[in-house]
């Protein structure tokens, strides 16, 4: 064990410590009150987030299986932030729930899997991290045990993720057969433009594309998002997507550089299909969670398009976009989770005249949707701009134009919700919803994040400096 083991592995150790702490509380006969427990957990998650900013070092662990550097630490900080915000937003829902501790154990073990996946420098570590990040989420998706749709969503998630991981494993087994090693850098040296190598890589890559729900592997997304509780839906759409995207970037940059010509073409077509089909399906959705599912599919398409450029700038722009995506998606989900916990309303038509009684929530929803659509003063505009600028290095202008036109289409369905919320209608209108302190803090962090990350250019140059 190297001397700086506890520094290199600290973010994972923090999570393990919190998980054990929660399990010990669960074992005790005398349970603390619900609010005390939630307070303690949120403080622990905040400490976890803060600890990621100090004493960071670069290094390798476990026989070069686990690599950490400042960029990975930053990516993990983004995920920690997402977990903290989701935890703050779901307090109101959790207060009426019996199994608070189980919820957090599942969520944090999934987060631990994502951390291992990001830091992986070995196919075995990548596979273990991937499974650790999906299996607890499938259990968590079934958290509303008595609801029929919850069970259905969880079943679809576990079957499709198990199927995708078998394809991924078949790819890994052939990569192992071709090269005789599982280490990313050694594989990178040994791969060639040969049919078997390309087939093995494509099988492996399909497994990863399943996790980010790129078209044609997106069919599980909408059903799972609609069936799960809102807290899990937001975790799936933010943290799980982001972690899988980080892993894809890592694999493309470290492991399969010799096959660049192949995956460049594959990524462009997959990204175009993802953007177009995600947008077209999003137009006709009535349920807000389903709408956000398809919107996240199309956002992933933009990230994949930038990933095809294979440069330091494109990687930085993707990570920057994910940071913005965390803020804007969680601003929207924060409002939805409050409304869903208070009134069980989730369709767009039920949000008619939402503004009359809920001014603050309406503005949060509006800013979040503006950022997702890419309207200039918000950060989403700069995120999309940098993505398309970096993607433009490797693709023709026809493809770039199609992607840009799709931003216009996406404007329609995002702003339709905003219009419904602000449209004046005297008769109907949702009653006033009380906003607990935690939810208010989380929403304010998201809104400030959306407004500042775009205007202050520091975030983007910071990410570039990390590489």
């Amino acid at each position: 064990m190297p001397e700086n083991f506890f520094i290199l592995f600290k973010q994972e150790l923090w999570l393990v410590a919190i998980i054990f702490f929660l399990l010990i509380i669960k074992l005790k006969t005398k349970q603390p009150a619900v609010t005390t427990l939630l307070n303690r957990i949120n403080v622990l998650l905040l400490l976890n987030l803060i600890s990621g900013f100090f004493f960071n070092e670069e290094g390798r662990l476990f026989g070069k299986m686990f690599v950490t550097n400042h960029l990975y630490v930053f990516e993990k900080n983004i995920l920690n932030l997402a977990a903290l915000l989701i935890s703050l937003q779901s307090t109101k829902w959790l207060e009426n729930h019996k199994h608070i501790i189980e919820f957090y154990v599942l969520l944090l073990s999934s987060l631990l899997g994502m951390f291992l996946m990001i830091s992986a420098a070995n196919l075995l570590m990548l596979y273990v991290g991937l499974e650790l990040s999906t299996i607890p989420l499938a259990a968590a998706a079934n958290f509303d045990l008595h609801k029929k749709i919850s069970g259905e969503g969880a079943m679809k998630l576990i079957i499709s993720s198990a199927f995708s991981s078998t394809i991924l494993l078949l790819g890994i087994s052939f990569l192992y057969g071709c090269t005789g090693t599982l280490d990313f850098s050694v594989i990178n040296n040994l791969l060639q433009q040969q049919p078997l190598h390309i087939a093995a890589f494509l099988l492996f890559f399909v497994g990863l594309l399943f996790k980010v729900s790129a078209v044609p592997f997106h069919l599980w997304t909408a059903d799972v998002y609609e069936g799960s509780p809102v807290a899990i839906t937001s975790f799936l759409s933010v943290a799980s997507k982001a972690a899988a995207m980080f892993a894809i970037l890592n694999v493309l940059n470290k492991m399969v550089q010799p096959l660049f010509i192949t995956w460049h073409t594959v990524l462009i077509w997959v990204a175009l299909a993802t953007i177009i089909i995600g947008n077209l399906f999003a137009i006709r959705q009535q349920n807000l969670k389903r709408l956000l599912a398809f919107s996240s599919v199309s956002q992933v398409g933009f990230m994949l398009l930038a990933a095809s450029a294979n440069s330091a700038v494109s990687n930085a722009s993707i990570i920057y976009f994910i940071l913005i995506y965390v803020f804007s998606n969680l601003a929207v989900f924060g409002v939805i989770s409050l409304v869903s916990a208070a009134l069980q309303k989730e369709t767009i038509t039920e949000y008619q005249s939402f503004y009359t009684n809920n001014k603050f929530l309406s503005w949060c929803l509006c800013i979040g949707f503006f950022s997702l659509a890419g309207v200039p003063p918000t950060a989403g505009f700069f995120g999309k701009l940098f993505l398309l600028m970096s993607a433009a290095q490797g693709i023709t202008f026809v493809i770039l134009t199609i992607a840009a036109l799709n931003m216009v289409i996406s404007m329609y369905y995002y702003l339709r919700v905003v219009k419904t919320v602000f449209a004046k209608n005297e008769n109907i209108g949702m009653e006033k919803i009380a906003i607990p302190v935690y939810n208010k803090i989380a929403l304010l962090i998201c809104v400030i994040g959306i407004l500042l990350t775009g205007v202050l250019s520091g975030a983007y140059s910071y990410i570039i400096s990390l590489q």
């Binding site: 196919l123 075995l124 596979y127 273990v128 499974e131 299996i135 499938a138 259990a139 079934n142 045990l145 008595h146 609801k147 029929k148 749709i149 069970g151 259905e152 969503g153 969880a154 079943m155 679809k156 576990i158 079957i159 198990a162 199927f163 078998t166 494993l169 078949l170 890994i172 087994s173 052939f174 192992y176 057969g177 071709c178 005789g180 090693t181 599982l182 040969q194 049919p195 078997l196 190598h197 087939a199 909408a222 059903d223 609609e226 069936g227 389903r290």
Partner: protein, 121 residues
């Protein structure tokens, strides 16, 4: 016939050498097993059977790993360790999946996927 098939397909780029014959047969076995599993997953409507099909696919990958390790790279144990990890994770996955299926049976009184279609639009 099988040998001929493999000489004209992509597999000839594997570093086969003398052990080519035995390894070829094992790869054919595992590929067949994989696609039998995939066929089962797509045609069966019973969730337990679908889960069994996925186990079949995972086991075919295990065969691949062990065979590659034994015949091509016998000096290191990477493949065998990987297959042990796959077995362990498959067990965890099956545990969660069966828990979900039991809960589905409680709410829907059926484990047929055609009866579980509340989310279809």
């Amino acid at each position: 016939m099988i040998e001929l098939l493999f000489h004209i397909t992509a597999f000839k780029s594997l570093p086969l050498g003398e052990v080519g014959g035995a390894l070829t047969h094992i790869i054919i076995l595992s590929t067949a097993l994989f696609f039998i599993g995939m066929y089962g997953l797509f045609t069966r409507r019973n969730m337990i059977t679908m889960l069994m099909s996925i186990e079949l696919m995972l086991n075919s990958v295990n065969i691949n790993f062990v065979a590659f390790n034994k015949y091509l790279y016998p000096d290191k144990m990477d493949g065998i360790f990987f297959s042990i990890f796959i077995i362990a994770i498959a067990a965890a996955e099956a545990a969660v999946a069966i828990a979900i299926i039991i809960n589905l049976y409680r709410t829907h009184k059926s484990i047929d996927v055609d009866d579980v279609t509340d989310l279809k639009q």
